[in-house]
């Protein structure tokens, strides 16, 4: 096998991050566990709902590319909505709160939250 053409020598003194690889700091939010689960994520989701909608739309688009009729996507979203009712406390309530705060269908938020389990094949 050929040598990896994109590999590079070990970097030095790259911290603190800067330059073209650095895309910014992750913003900090407080999640208040004293609030009811359905309300804990409201502020964060209010700030990020546009980006979250973009992501769930893309996930839907990728699935539609694999199953163009749209039936599979429809069935999956319906089943995942039902699945949310089986999730343990407080996760079910938190996920429902996120769906409500973002205006994104519950099935799509559930899919985002169980994507790891789906993806590990």
């Amino acid at each position: 096998l050929a040598k990896d053409p994109y590999a590079e020598e070990c970097r030095n003194e790259s911290y603190p991050p800067s330059g073209p690889r650095f895309k910014g700091n992750a913003p900090v939010y407080i999640i208040n566990l004293d609030l009811p689960p359905s309300k804990r994520w409201d502020q964060l989701i209010n700030d990020k709902k546009v980006q979250l909608k973009t992501l769930t739309d893309t996930m839907r688009g990728i699935m539609t590319a694999f199953f163009p009729s749209g039936k599979v996507v429809h069935i999956l979203e319906k089943e995942l909505t039902l699945l949310s009712a089986t999730l343990p406390y407080p996760f079910r309530e938190e996920i429902e709160g996120i769906a409500k705060a973002s205006g994104i269908p519950l099935g799509e938020i559930v899919m985002f939250n169980v994507f790891y389990e789906i993806f590990t094949v």
């Binding site: 590079e8 991050p17 999640i31 566990l33 994520w41 990728i62 996760f91 389990e117």
Partner: protein, 253 residues
């Protein structure tokens, strides 16, 4: 993903990870990037979970995701999760869950529960080792004193291996990508060898969060799937998350 727990010559522990995600989920030809990876970056946030106005744990997360993939209980332990691919994968666990067999736990919910409720490194290790899961995973755990660092390799139902640092002649660091550490990585996805080469150059005398950042931002450890890099020092109660990209030329994974 790439996760590292390392111990310096004084016994202080450092934990860091690259979060890589989005393989085969849409390639943007124009920008030479993975669509989902790019869309996850603006959703990346640092969270401070508080009760009675006091921090219970901190995490690096995606807005909209209630589970945890990287987090820290200040002064006690740190935890990251790397994806483990297997034919006996999460889809089987989901299918069993739907059929009513619900004795396993969702990966992100387990890590969240551990960060929220565990009170020590040993307790966290115990929970991550013994709890049945819906999907396989690697849990990378760090503590607050010498020898407290390990990679737990999990199948859905059992623990396959626990790889500890600095005890019984073990290494001064553990480094996990997405392959079992006792086997060679997939030849087209070997981030382990370059990462280890960089770590071995650093040595316990010079290890620190900045030098681990050097390792994690070296290509191909840094690649087109990298969303962010998180640096954690439990002892200093410090967690930092930086959004990163990989300008061309760069490996797609």
């Amino acid at each position: 993903c790439t996760s590292i727990v390392a111990e310096d010559k004084t016994g202080k522990l450092y934990h860091a990870r690259n979060l890589d995600f989005g393989l085969f989920l849409g390639w943007d030809v124009k920008n030479s990037s993975w669509t989902i990876t790019e869309e996850l970056r603006p959703l990346t946030v640092s969270l401070d979970f508080q009760r009675n106005n006091k921090t219970v744990f901190k995490s690096s997360n995606f807005a909209g995701y209630v589970g945890m993939v990287s987090g820290m209980k200040p002064g006690i332990f740190s935890l990251t999760m790397n994806e483990r691919f297997s034919i006996d994968g999460g889809y089987i666990g989901i299918f069993q869950w739907i059929l009513g067999k619900r004795d396993g736990m969702w990966m992100g919910f387990l890590t969240r529960a551990v960060l929220e409720n565990s009170t020590s490194y040993e307790d966290a290790k115990d929970q991550l080792t013994k709890t049945k899961l819906l999907a396989p995973a690697y849990f990378i755990l760090g503590g607050n004193r010498t020898g407290q660092g390990c990679v737990i390799t999990r199948s859905r139902l059992s623990t396959l291996d626990i790889w500890n640092i600095n005890t019984n002649g073990g290494p001064w660091y553990v480094l996990e990508t997405n392959y079992d550490h006792w086997e060679d990585p997939f030849v087209l996805d070997d981030r382990r060898t370059p990462a280890r080469r960089c770590m071995d150059r650093i040595t316990p005398e010079n290890i620190s969060l900045p030098t681990i950042f050097d390792v994690l931002t070296t290509k191909p450890v840094l690649n087109k799937l990298t969303v962010s890099t998180t640096l954690i020092s439990v002892t200093d109660s410090r967690i930092e998350t930086y959004l990163l990209g990989c300008p061309d030329p760069c490996n797609p994974w």
